[in-house]
């Protein structure tokens, strides 16, 4: 640092331990977790997405997660208003969001406080903090900033105060609109990412707009890069593995929507609900280009009934919703089960019950998915565990729905919905699509519900087929679709509808164990916890522990071979993001403890003592948490001292 810069202190970061900023050689890291947070509308999300894409292009593994406030316009500078993106960048393939954050860029100290209180920051985490508040006109803001800053420093965080606003103003007039690109430039320097790739991102994002917008953003980007190079005393490099095949970088909801397109379905009926709606937003944008329609119905029930009508008429249809909407659809789902109409229902789970935590993650709807609707209403339940599975599960769901004339429920969650993870670019296959609508005449004597004695399957007659006329009904009915009041037919038809699940089960493959097929402890999971569980298991195995994991994509029916797998382990437990009673609670014992959803299912199915551990913190379970849980379990069981 020289005399000139000392005279302009605000142009330099004020690093709290008083050390002098200067150029350093890049330190090589295996991985790093970066957060960019701001008030809503300041562009932190865009900045984070771009950073993720750039790192992915460099050949790094990434997992990005959106940080979303529940309100559209939370007050500026509010603790609950943090909006942004969290990017885990790794040298190898990344399967989940990881543990606490290593480096955070904050546009004000208040949004940062929210993250600190949520214990999302690693001890000693680097904080790059906008310093404009220190000289703000409002004395209260200045006081709040100074107090927060000193507390963060005292707590041991490495806080760098950065004059972002001031630096941006040297490039553009309205700094608030472009600060995110300045930050992106800084981050490109910090992680030794190619600036050219960031320029490409800007052209992609703003290319349709005025050339001057593109130019201004590129200038901001370069300014941020140059500033970080000149003023920061650290720099990292995360080695990348060059991928040899094209990768897709999308979040779970976009993957779902792409899956809907790829499955050949033509109609999506929906009603707005968080966090499912962004899938329909995207689909609304693109579906018509392939002859599809997104119908926004007047309510959730209407969306489901509309989908059932369209499916009945020959075009298997999807309805996309989230918890409360899924509850509303139950009666209609029962109708589709009873009348054997194919239907795909996507439930992007959120925190419940009731309105719960709309933007937060939870796996609370498994029981509703399996047992929902009154009476015995067997339906297929699938849960993708990765972004890639979000795409392919819709294609599979459509096929199963049409083959078995069943309702297929696809359970994702808010975590998958808003996370991005690269996966190999799908190559379109015509077999993904539905066959054309059958309009051939029905053979004389054929009956609308001619159930097969062994499988319960019956050919469905579709309107337009001459000779197939019948009145489909939600009442109990016989092979001619005539209303049936007698006990015999009622019992038989319940049997047929149930047999279809068994028939599907016979076609499924046994799931694969992650790790050895035998050991001390097997952890079982479903849905979006897959990456975190497997990462924790891998780390434990590296320490020599005999632990493995099993992840289930089909929850109903459960695929064959599970019991044999379970029997290979001394202890069994599920790890889930839903409620289970804590054995530590004073009045909880074996006679009243409520287990996690999957644990209940597996215990009743396999008559094995399957323990569970769960948390409902509205966010993905961290791999380090899972490790602690497994270590404690091994200790409790006397397997580890």
């Amino acid at each position: 640092m020289n005399e000139t810069t000392l005279q302009k202190p605000l142009k330099k970061p004020r690093k709290s331990n008083g050390s002098v900023a200067g150029k350093k050689a890049a330190v090589t890291l295996k991985e790093h977790i970066v957060e960019i947070i701001s008030d809503s509308g300041e562009g932190a999300q865009k900045c984070g997405q771009s950073l993720g894409s750039i790192a992915a292009q460099m050949g790094n593994g990434i997992w990005t997660t959106e940080i979303i406030p529940a309100e559209i316009r939370p007050p500026a500078r509010s603790v609950a208003g943090a909006s942004g993106n969290r990017i885990r960048i790794g040298a190898g393939y990344i399967t989940n969001g990881g543990d606490e954050t290593d480096l955070v860029v904050a546009f004000n100290e208040q949004v940062l406080l929210g993250r600190v209180r949520a214990k999302e920051l690693k001890p000693g985490c680097i904080i790059l903090l906008e310093s404009m508040w220190r000289s703000h006109a409002d004395a209260k803001i200045v006081a709040s900033y100074i107090e927060t800053h000193s507390r963060l420093v005292a707590a041991g965080y490495r806080v760098y105060e950065i004059p972002m606003e001031q630096e941006c103003k040297t490039v553009v007039a309205d700094a608030r609109r472009g600060k995110n690109m300045f930050v992106l430039g800084m981050l490109c320097h910090i992680y030794s990412l190619e600036l050219k790739l960031a320029v490409d991102q800007i052209v992609l994002a703003f290319g349709k707009k005025d050339r001057s917008v593109v130019d201004a953003n590129i200038r901001l980007l370069e300014a941020g890069h140059a500033w970080a190079a000149a003023n920061l005393d650290f720099c990292y490099r995360i080695p990348a593995q060059r991928s040899t095949e094209p990768q897709i970088v999308v979040n779970g909801n976009t993957a779902l929507a792409l899956g809907v397109m790829a499955s050949g379905m033509e109609i999506c009926a929906m009603y707005p609900i968080t966090p499912a709606t962004s899938a329909s937003h995207y689909l609304s944008e693109v579906f018509e280009k392939v002859g599809g329609i997104v119908h926004q119905a007047e309510d959730e029930i209407a969306a489901c009934a509309f989908a059932i009508g369209a499916s009945y008429a020959g075009k298997c249809t999807v309805t996309i919703t989230s918890g409360p909407g899924y509850s509303l659809k139950q009666e209609a789902i029962g109708l589709a089960v009873m009348a054997e109409i194919p239907l795909v229902v996507v439930n992007v789970q959120r925190g419940g019950p009731s309105t719960g935590q709309p933007t937060k993650m939870e796996q609370g709807d498994l029981m509703t998915a399996i047992f929902g609707s009154h009476g015995d209403a067997p339906k297929v339940v699938m849960a993708p565990g990765t972004i890639e599975e979000c795409f392919y599960s819709i294609i599979t769901a459509r096929k199963i729905a049409e083959t078995f004339n069943m309702v297929v429920v696809v359970l994702t969650d808010a975590g998958l919905a808003t996370s991005q993870q690269p996966f190999p670019r799908p190559t379109f296959n015509e077999s993904w699509l539905a066959p054309p609508v059958d309009q051939s005449p029905v053979p004389p004597g054929a009956r609308p519900y001619d159930w097969d004695e062994n499988t319960g399957l019956a050919r469905r007659f579709i309107p337009g087929q001459p000779g197939g006329m019948h009145a489909l009904t939600g009442l109990a009915h016989d092979r001619d679709s005539h209303v049936a009041y007698d006990a015999e037919i009622n019992e038989q038809t319940l049997r047929f509808r149930s047999l279809k699940l068994a028939a599907l089960q016979k076609t499924l493959k046994a799931p694969r164990v992650f790790g050895d097929a035998k050991g001390d402890l097997l952890v079982i999971g479903w849905g979006s916890t897959k990456g975190a569980i497997e990462e924790a298991v891998e780390a434990m195995r590296a320490e020599g522990q005999k632990v493995s994991s099993l992840h289930l994509q089909f929850l109903q029916p459960l695929p064959p071979g599970i019991k044999e797998i379970l029997q290979g382990f001394g202890k069994l437990m599920t790890i889930e993001n839903n409620w289970s009673d804590q054995p530590e609670d004073r009045i909880i014992d074996e006679n009243n403890r409520r287990y996690s959803s999957l644990a209940i299912l597996l215990r009743s199915r396999y008559l094995l003592d399957i323990d569970c551990w769960s948390e409902v913190r509205g966010q993905p379970i961290k791999p380090s948490t899972i490790r602690r849980v497994m270590q404690r379990k091994l200790k409790q069981e006397g397997i580890q001292p």
Partner: protein, 326 residues
């Protein structure tokens, strides 16, 4: 290709011509004197007269006495769940514009549990013919007051008389933006009932027909004042609407010239409390149909899906550096 002889051609036409019984399925289980029977007769006659192909025709219903209707038609039928006939019918129509879609719903089904769908069905204005079988009572569940029950109706849930003014389905329908066809019929004048059913079917858009019907089981005398006094029926005539026959005019002398294009007048007529207006209250063939607005002419071919999907995937693809260079 073989040319058909005139005789063969005639024979085939006879073959394809369907009679009333070709549209009938089973023996209706409605009570003797129930207005549903009159509606069934009018609709079967419509099917025959218009030569509707049974396999291309779908009757959709909800739950209630009226909603047994599809079981008595030898067409495709969808006897769904309470209140949801309209969205089911909309889905069918959106997926398959080649199908003729009808809805049979009751006053509980449409105006109570399904009221949200009713309002929005009118807004969507899809090409569907809706018959509201309005007997002003819940029949299948054994006599509970419905939204259209006249105030004071004694029922099992209102033993001291119902408390609220009846909802007027005509006024409600005429108050919704995009309304395109509203008519009212009564089950005891079958000639006009048929004419209205036919006009409703021929209208492109959502045709809403309220049919005031008797319930001989639960409200056997509630419509007597109207049945016994022909002057309490107001026949709506117009050169652009229906024209009463001479025979009918001899009995029903209370007639009004009403242009169905006039929505303000239609709303006034709909609000009448002393007389039952019978005829077409409103018709506007210019209101666009939702399915026409939404469905593209593009055929949903595998090539289209492939190209569309690949174009989208292109937006999100991170190419390996080598491939990018190449």
């Amino acid at each position: 290709m073989n040319m058909m002889s005139a005789t063969e051609c005639l024979l085939q036409m006879c073959d394809e011509h369907l009679e009333l019984e070709d549209y009938a399925s089973g023996v209706p289980r409605w009570c003797t004197g129930c207005g549903d029977n009159a509606i069934l007769a009018a609709v079967q006659r419509l099917c025959r007269d218009e030569g509707l192909r049974p396999e291309k025709t779908v009757f959709v219903s909800g739950i209630g006495c009226s909603s047994r209707f599809p079981h008595y038609m030898k067409t495709y039928g969808f006897h769904g769940i309470h209140g949801r006939a309209l969205p089911i019918a909309e889905g069918i129509r959106m997926a398959r514009p080649d199908l003729k879609v009808f809805v049979n719903t009751g006053d509980g089904d449409c105006c109570s549990i399904g009221a949200a769908h009713w309002i929005h069905a009118i807004r969507y204005n899809m090409n569907i013919t809706v018959f509201l079988h309005d007997n002003q009572i819940y029949g299948l569940t054994k006599k509970q007051a419905s939204p259209t029950s006249p105030i004071g109706t004694r029922s099992n849930t209102t033993p001291r008389g119902s408390y609220l003014e009846a909802l007027n389905p005509l006024s409600v329908t005429l108050g919704v933006q995009n309304v395109s066809f509203v008519a009212q019929a009564v089950d005891w004048i079958p000639e006009v009932l048929f004419d209205i059913v036919k006009a409703a079917y021929q209208h492109k858009g959502l045709s809403f027909v309220r049919i005031v019907q008797r319930c001989p089981e639960w409200l056997p005398t509630s419509l007597d004042p109207w049945l016994h006094d022909p002057n309490k029926v107001l026949l709506l005539n117009h050169e652009n609407g229906l024209q009463s026959s001479a025979g009918l005019s001899r009995v029903y002398k209370n007639q009004l010239q009403h242009d169905p294009a006039n929505i303000d007048r239609a709303r006034e007529i709909a609000s009448s409390t002393d007389v039952v207006p019978v005829g077409i209250l409103y018709r506007n063939p210019e209101v666009p149909c939702y399915e026409d607005l939404r469905r593209s002419d593009t055929l949903h071919t595998p090539e289209l899906t492939r190209d569309g999907l690949n174009a989208e995937l292109d937006k999100y693809t991170v190419w390996p550096r080598e491939a990018r260079a190449a």
